[in-house]
Each structure stands twice: as structure tokens, then as C-alpha cells.
């Protein structure tokens, strides 16, 4: 019994004898008898081989690969993950370690995080990046917390082009923080910053590219933030960064984003990776862990988590973030993936996504009845409208082996975006696959 407990019955008897106890139950003498259980109402243990067989049977209920060729994005993308990244990120030294509380025996994770921080800082164009947060939505929540703490204003002006699920998370956490979330609407697929009334605010939030794949005017976003005395927070796509300007160039205070696309599988939504970087002046309000370089007693270069006085285990109720365990292994994976891609590889992925996006958009728009949701330039994904509800398009195309995209509903109620379909094309989609998708699309809306 207990596949992973090494103790034999004889071991247990000897240990109990040493403690002067007659049974394992006596270890729990302090637990009130009225609530002590006889056991759990769960099935008995199963063998590993039986588990694997059950997983195969249950897994057949999921559509992947050619049964659901992926044209969905919305913050989760089907990018190339090579064998070398899976092999290195799967090394048990990284997988089965914990937070580097003893840096002398954790230089592996610490140095990998230092390299990760460097790469994320270069993506954002800002000098400081933390060692990861849970996902894109958590990074956005932490970014707004930083902005409110620094500016003293609890009002967040959030573009409607920010991932609507992230904005919902922001609203959930605002129940505790008391922050007010206001929406800046879209016009022609991009944010209308001139809609924002005069006054004061803690932050202006915009996505680059935005949820509909369109390229926002970050200079206009910065100007809007300046009018409000607010921080500018940019939700950056780390893949498109290979061909787009860095938000840091526009005086952005905090860049956050979803890092799943950097070497991690779709995984039904997790574990993903919250990217977070900021200007140097904000480093003492940085959420999560930060790794810094130093030396050991012998003067050797070494790494350690630093500025720890910010963190919850030291600052307790005065901490501006409660983050403890975060997504270290996913951050290490991202560093390995970016090492595999290098300068030209990341540019190629971004470029090939943009090519596929243009090709696929044109193919869909050539179908009678399919219209663009906007004419704004797109590089990562795009939205179309067809004379059929997007939920039905997705359902019918799944029968034909395609995951067609994400229906645009929540977050867009009452706008000209509502009822559209968000389609994403990564570097993994071939012209033949896109042609097949467009042909099937034409059939299902006929």
C-alpha cells in the first residue's frame, strides 16, 4: 500500500516502538475523537499501468492535432516547441526543486532566472523584469496594483482591446482592492484615447498588439496617461515583439504579458507565465521574486533572490503583493526557448505569424458573407464576422477538424465587435492547412 511510501510494516513497528506508541492511530491522539475519520470515500489505489490505460481512454475525449487544427489564440498559441526545449525544461533538477531559499545549492535555477529576466527586459525595452507571475491576467493585476500604489489614484482606464478575460480577473481582484476599472472603447479596432475625460487616474492599460490583433498607438497611450497623471501599462505579446517596437521606447511604466507562447504547450490553459517588467524607479514595488547577481565568499560570481524586503514573508500585511510560489519552471522554459530561437529565430516566428495572418485573413474575406471586424493593421490574429453565430462556426468546424477561433462575446457586449470570431495563425500553419480551413469555413457558413 502507498506506492510512494518506503516504510515496511517492520519499519513502522520499530519507529512506533521508539516513540512508545502502539499504533499509527495514536499519533493522532490530539485530534478530537468526534471528528476523526475511519477513512475516505474514494476508490482504492490503482497501478501505474492501469492509470496510463485510463488516461488513454479519457484523453480520447479531447480533440487535438489533426482533429482540431488550431486557429485559436486569445492569449494561448500553438507555437513550435522543439524537443530540445522539452528535454532541458524537463530535467528533474529544475522540475523537482523549490524556491531558491538556499542559494548555495540553487545556482542552477537562480542563474536561469537571471537569464530569463534579462531576456524579458530586452523584450519589453525596460530595465527590470521579475522572475515570473502566474499568467498574463495576474501580471496585469499586479501592474495595476503597482500603479495605484505609486500614483495614489485607484482609477484604472483599461482599453477594450485588452484581453477581456484578463479584465474580468482585474475586476474580480478589484473587489478586494477597491480599484475602479473604467473602459476606453475601440473605434475601427483600436483604442480611442480621446474618449478619456480629463481628471486623475492611476493607470492607462493598452495591449500591443491588442486582443483583435491590431496595432495600437503607444505614443497616444502615453499622452493619455500623462494627461491623467497615470502610469502607462502595456500588455505586450512577446512573439510579435520580434518585429514590433518595444513598449519601453514609449515611456511605458510597466509591461506585462502572457509568456505561454515562449516554449510552453497549450495545456488547456495552464500552467502559463506572467511576464512583468518595469522602469527602474519602480523596482521597490516590484511584485514577486527578483534575482540579482553578486559574489560568494571566495569572490565567485553567484546569484541570489534580492530586494527580499518587498516580499510577503518579510513585510507581511504591508506587502503590496502576496506572491510566493510563482511559475519558475515556466520562466526557465521560456529562457530556454528564447535561447533556442535567438535574435533571428524570434524575428522569423513573428514574421511568419504575420504572413499567415495576412494570408488567412484574405482567404476568409474572399468567402461571400465574411467581413472584417475592422480594417486596422493586424500582425498576430484578426477578427471576422460571418452570417452565422461564431459559436456555431466553431462547433461546425470542429466537426471538420479545425478549432476555428474564439467567439467575441464577453467584454464586447453592445459593440460592433460583438458576434465576431477571433482567428489566430501561428508559424506552424501551412498554406495548405489555411486553404483547407478557408474551404471548410465557406462550407459551414453556406
Amino acid at each position: 500500500m502507498g506506492n510512494f511510501v518506503p516504510h515496511t510494516d517492520a519499519d513502522i513497528a520499530a519507529m512506533l516502538e521508539f516513540l512508545g506508541l502502539a499504533s499509527l492511530d495514536e499519533l493522532y491522539a490530539v485530534v478530537p475523537a468526534a471528528i476523526r475519520l475511519a477513512g475516505l470515500d474514494l476508490p482504492g489505489e490503482i497501478a501505474e499501468a492501469d492509470l496510463v490505460a485510463e488516461l488513454d481512454a479519457i484523453g480520447a475525449g479531447n480533440r487535438v492535432g489533426s482533429r482540431a487544427l488550431c486557429f485559436a489564440g486569445g492569449g494561448a498559441y500553438d507555437h513550435e516547441v522543439p524537443a530540445v526545449v522539452r528535454a532541458l525544461a524537463g530535467r528533474s533538477e529544475f522540475v523537482t526543486a523549490y524556491t531558491p531559499y538556499q542559494p548555495e545549492v540553487a545556482q542552477g535555477v537562480l542563474q536561469a532566472l537571471f537569464e530569463y529576466q534579462t531576456m524579458v527586459a530586452r523584450l519589453s525595452g525596460l530595465p527590470i523584469a521579475n522572475a515570473s507571475l502566474y499568467d498574463g491576467s495576474a501580471a496585469l493585476v499586479e501592474a495595476t496594483n503597482l500603479a495605484v500604489a505609486t500614483t495614489g489614484s485607484p482609477l484604472i482606464w483599461c482599453s477594450q482591446g485588452v484581453n477581456p478575460r484578463w479584465v474580468e480577473v482585474l475586476r474580480t481582484f478589484a473587489r478586494g482592492s477597491g480599484h475602479a476599472i473604467a473602459t476606453i472603447g475601440l473605434a475601427g479596432g483600436v483604442t480611442s484615447f480621446d474618449q478619456v475625460p480629463a481628471g486623475r487616474a492611476g493607470a492607462v492599460v493598452v495591449a500591443y498588439p491588442n486582443y483583435l490583433g491590431a496595432l495600437e498607438d503607444l505614443a497616444a497611450a502615453r499622452a493619455a496617461a500623462d494627461r491623467l497623471g497615470a502610469h502607462l501599462i502595456v500588455c505586450q505579446d512577446p512573439i510579435a515583439a520580434g518585429i514590433l517596437h518595444s513598449p519601453g521606447q514609449f515611456g511605458t511604466d510597466v509591461v506585462c504579458g502572457e509568456g505561454q507562447a515562449l516554449g510552453n504547450p497549450l495545456g488547456f490553459g495552464g500552467p502559463y507565465l506572467g511576464l512583468f517588467s518595469c522602469r527602474a524607479e519602480h523596482v521597490r514595488r516590484l511584485p514577486g521574486r527578483l534575482v540579482g547577481e553578486t559574489v560568494d565568499v571566495a569572490g565567485r560570481r553567484a546569484y541570489v533572490t534580492t530586494l527580499r524586503a518587498r516580499e510577503q514573508d518579510i513585510r507581511r500585511e504591508k506587502a503590496s503583493s502576496n506572491v510566493c510560489t510563482n511559475q519558475t519552471l515556466i520562466a526557465v522554459t521560456a529562457a530556454i526557448q528564447l535561447g533556442w530561437l535567438g535574435t533571428e529565430g524570434l524575428r522569423q516566428v513573428a514574421l511568419r505569424c504575420a504572413r499567415g495572418t495576412r494570408y488567412c485573413r484574405a482567404a476568409l474575406l474572399s468567402i461571400p458573407g465574411v467581413e472584417p471586424v475592422s480594417e486596422a493593421p493586424v500582425v498576430r490574429e484578426f477578427a471576422v464576422r460571418a452570417p452565422l453565430a461564431p459559436e456555431l462556426i466553431v462547433e461546425r468546424l470542429l466537426e471538420k477538424g479545425f478549432l476555428a477561433g474564439i467567439p467575441l462575446r464577453e467584454g464586447f457586449e453592445g459593440t460592433d465587435v460583438e458576434g465576431g470570431l477571433l482567428v489566430a495563425v501561428t508559424e506552424r500553419r501551412t498554406a495548405a492547412e489555411i486553404d483547407g480551413f478557408a474551404a471548410a469555413f465557406a462550407e459551414v457558413i453556406r
Partner: protein
Amino acid sequence: MTGDASRRAPGGRAASAPLMGKATEPTIFEYSAPGRRAWSLRTTGLPEWSAEELVPAAHLRAEPLALPEVAERDLVGHFTRLSHRQYSVDLGAYPLGSCTMKYNPKVCDEAASLAAFRDVHPATPPVGAQGWLQVLVELEEALCEITGMAAATLQPAAGAAGELTGLLLMRAWHELAGERRTRVVVPESAHGTNPASVTLGGYTPVTVGTDARGLVDRAALAAVLGPDVAGIVLTNPNTLGLFEEEILEIAQMVHDVGGLLYYDGANLNPILGVVRPGDMGFDIVHLNLHKTFATPHGGGGPGAGPVAVSQRLVDLLPGPRPVRVGDGYGFATPPRSIGRIHSFHGNALVLLRAWCYIKLNGGEGLRRVAQVSVLNANWLHEKLRGAYDFPFDRPVMHECVVSAASLKRETGVRALDVAKRLLEEGFHAPTVYFPLVVEESLMIEPTETESPETVAALAEALVSIAAEARAHAAAGEHQPAHDAPRTTPVGRLDETRAARKLVATFDARERPAD
């Protein structure tokens, strides 16, 4: 020990780990050579439009985004060498108190690498994700049985995210009743995430002390309870490794003022199948699947922190939730949901591993996990008697907290020195200086997956470190523990320099800010 156990080798001691030398590993940036590459991408047959044709000039990156340019072979060499500079559960025992660093079964990782689960897009409609939804629903049901609760959300990505979710549920519950309560009670021995989460939940934390037994001071609790108290956040067993034996009375006291009880599941491991938070009177429970349910800690995440609630809070849970629909599965959002707390459905591949772990152990196996974790901790605790102080000399649950206060007074060797000296003996250090209520504390959690031989070797190492310190002090000699660790890739670090002269990226090193 039975038979000739004293001659058997301890499987969790890593003192033999081979290392090639003391050189430091360059960063990946220092291996970079312009034009060298590892990447290759699929042939797509798409028109090769240029960046200038695709991206408006106002948005087109002017300078290439500099990333390391290395060959695949060098990428592998670099990260493999980094891995050799990293301690892990697979290498040896990791008795880090409160972190439950148990062995992580390999088949659970293999499950998470199956394409049928790994490659599913989170926006796949339920008809194409029945397998995933079945796993998530069954996991929720098993966690509810284990905790004695009615329903759970699987969205929180870690324990602290679960805590904040729980506090938002507490807030929403009181608001529904038209109440604006302002304070939440937190024991002084609580994990740091507790008071931080309470603040982020919009509440003011109120601290209650620990009594002479190491338990919540009930008189102090009675003094702070009132109609403005929204609830209490408790860990049971608490961070001293002690079971709050008056939990039923405490629950009554909190419920009597209209408050809710929140259970921090960090220490659930020792009570699996023995006693349930729901039966103790808790209303909200978070679990750390990366602790209790053996999902790998990943160097500090990803974890998973599901939150289970009693029946009266079910309608408030975050949505959308995986649910049974007829013979199949779908999503539903509870009518008074507090809203999403994750981009999608939580750390799904972590949740899948926990589902596997529960299946592999079964109900009886989980109970055995708890029992042996408690057995190991008590056995270890007793072996340390005399070498270290016992601030609360009572039977413990999954971990024990001892103090190096006398040792420090007698020899100058502190808890930190003991921890560093233990690394030289081939073991990861315990948690030190937490909980804060114990001076020079060493918080040791062997877990159930370490064999009796390993626990014995760990105890012996800790005892001999104390004996060594006392012998050197008696002889008036320099303490070796002050120089420890000497066998690790690097020695003690200059942490002050790291904070004062911040170098948080390779680029900061190249161009110092000052």
C-alpha cells in the same frame, strides 16, 4: 530500525553528487556568436512577404531584438551544467518545513506530456474537451471528499492566489448579507502570505498570539472577536507543526460572531483521510497541490491552489466551472460568482498530475501518506532531543520546529549556520527563522517519502552538527559551521551587495548604473 538498518545506505542523502569543479558557469549571453543558430521552423509554403510589407513603418522594430545566438549543442551544455548546480528532491531529501517537498511520481509528469491533454487549446468548446473536463470534475469531487467541502474552484494558480480568492469569497458572502466587516484574524505564527492576502482582500489583519502550548491563544481570540470580524485564517496543524486541538471551540467562537473560518491548506498532508477541515468547522479551504498532492515544485512554481467551500458559499465560486451535464461535461458559471481569477481554467497540467496522484494512492493510500508523514516527523523530533531546544515539547504532526537558541548562546553557531553546515552533509536545509514566534527556529519536514534510513541519517547529521559546535566551543576553536557550506558550487553569498548594487540583468552588469 529493523535488522541491520544501521548499515543500509540512506536513499535521500546526496553527499556523493559528482561535480566537475568549482568554475562558475558563464551566462548564455557569453556563449552568443552572431549568426549561430539552433532554431528551425516548419516549411509553410506561404508567400514570403517582407516585414516592411506586413508591418506599418510606425510600428516596425528598427533594431533586431538581441537574444543569445547559440548552437543547440551549446544550449544543451549550458542548461545541463546549470542543472548540475541545483539541488532537487530527485537528488536527495529536502526537509524544508511547510513546503512538503515529497517525491514527485514520474508517471504524473508523463501524463502531463500526453498530446491528448498537453495540446488542447483552452478555448476548445466542451464537445472537444470532454477528457479534460472529466479529469477536472473528478479532481474537484475528490478534493471535496478529502476536505469535507461541497464544491471547489480549480482556477487559483498557487496557494497565495487561493488565499486571496478565499478572502474575496468571504467578502462577497458578508456583502450579500448586507454587512461590511473590516477585520480578519490571523495567528502570529501564520505564513506571511496570510496577512498579505488579508490586506489585498480589503481587510485589516488582526493578530492573535500563541499560548504556552504553541496553540492559538483562545483568551486573546475572544478579546478580538466582534461583529466587525469577517473571519479567521488558520492553518491546522499550525506552523509549529502542532494540531489545534481546540479547533471545534475556536470554530464555535468565530461562527458565534458571524465570522467564517478559512483553512490555509499548506499543512494538509498530515491529516489526509484522518480528519477533514469541513468537519472541523471550516467554511473555505485552499489546497496546495504542489505540496500535498506531489506535483513538482518547479523551482518555485507552477503550483495549483484550488479553493473548496461549504454549501452556503457554492454560488459565489469563480466561474466558469467544469461541471457534469447529463452523461458528459460542460462549463457553468455560479449565479453570484465573484468572477474569474485566472486567464483560463487554472494550471491544468498541474491539476492533471494531482488527479493521477490521488488515483495512484487511493483513499487508503492517502491516509497512509498522512500517517507516515507524522510518524517520520515525530521520530525525527525525538532524535533531536538534547541537541536542540524544544520550544513546545509535544507530539507533532508532519513537521517539527526546534530551536538553536541554546546552541547559539553556548557556541555562537546559529540556526543559519546549522542549515549551511547541513548542506555539506548532503541534505537540503530545513526552513530557518520561521515561524517568527520561535527564536533561532529550524522547521523540519521530512515527508512520508523519505525512508527510515534517510530520516535517521538526517537526524544524525543534525545532532552531530550540534555536537561539533559544542566541542569546538569547549576547545575554544573556530567553528567550521561558520565557514559552511564549503562543498557546494558556491559558498555563502554577499546578499547585501546584491541588494545595494542591484544587477538584475546581464545588461545591468555590462553597464553598471552608478
